[in-house]
Symmetry: C2
């Protein structure tokens, strides 16, 4: 299976696959006489694993750790649990931030119901006012 087919069957761009190879996240594939990469089902599996971890918002460094853990099957999985707990905490924190942001943005949007001139626009006035208040608070 060459790189194009791997890309199609996983939905990962060719350049990304080569990038993962450079980053040692995918084992080096065999090569044809013409120097084309040749992948095995094992590569497909590992690439999917990487992408699934990425879809769970893990960094490549974290994926690297997980792959390392998988390669020592007799070790303990404490690392994995810790990694997940941290990730969960991060996501929770981010969601809270974004909830606040939603409130702020909606409130701000309310300051200009119908578009007027820039110099009287409630949004812009409020942006300037809030920037000033931040000043006072800090």
């Amino acid at each position: 299976m060459q790189i194009g087919e791997l890309a199609r069957s996983t939905g990962v761009k060719i350049e990304t696959i080569r990038y993962y190879e450079r980053e040692h996240l995918l084992p080096l594939p065999q090569r044809t006489e013409g120097n084309y990469r040749l992948y095995s089902p094992r590569h497909v599996e590992q690439l999917r694993f990487i992408r699934y971890c990425r879809s769970l918002d893990m960094s490549l460094e974290e994926v690297r750790i997980l792959i390392g853990v998988l390669d020592t099957p007799s070790g303990s999985c404490l690392t994995v649990n810790a990694l997940l707990d941290e990730k969960i905490a991060e996501v929770d924190a981010r969601v809270n931030e974004l909830h606040k942001l939603q409130d702020q943005l909606r409130q701000l949007r309310g300051f200009c119901q119908q578009p007027d001139e820039v110099k009287t626009c409630g949004i812009l006035m409020e942006l300037n006012r809030s920037a000033g208040i931040d000043k006072a608070q800090i």
Copy 2:
């Protein structure tokens, strides 16, 4: 006011201030004889405006647009409204994504109550299984 004081009074790092200058987000300051930057209250205001917009998750490109709008006070503020609407939609979408992610992560975490060996860890097994299922779905 030189750059250090500006940095202290706004909580923005010196390097970031210089970066904004390079990016034409802050007007060029005056210089002393020794080539030190000299800032006016106008700069303080604009820097705070930038940081406040950034705290609302706007990109520097979007901040640049807002600054441009502010510089033509007789124009209409349609752009501003559109920008905010788009931003609100983006944040809403991201919150939805993260909610799903929270569910996934918590469910995944549940697969390993107490740490066992890597080869029997429910989390790792589930990660591999899910990566495989994604394959079938696509």
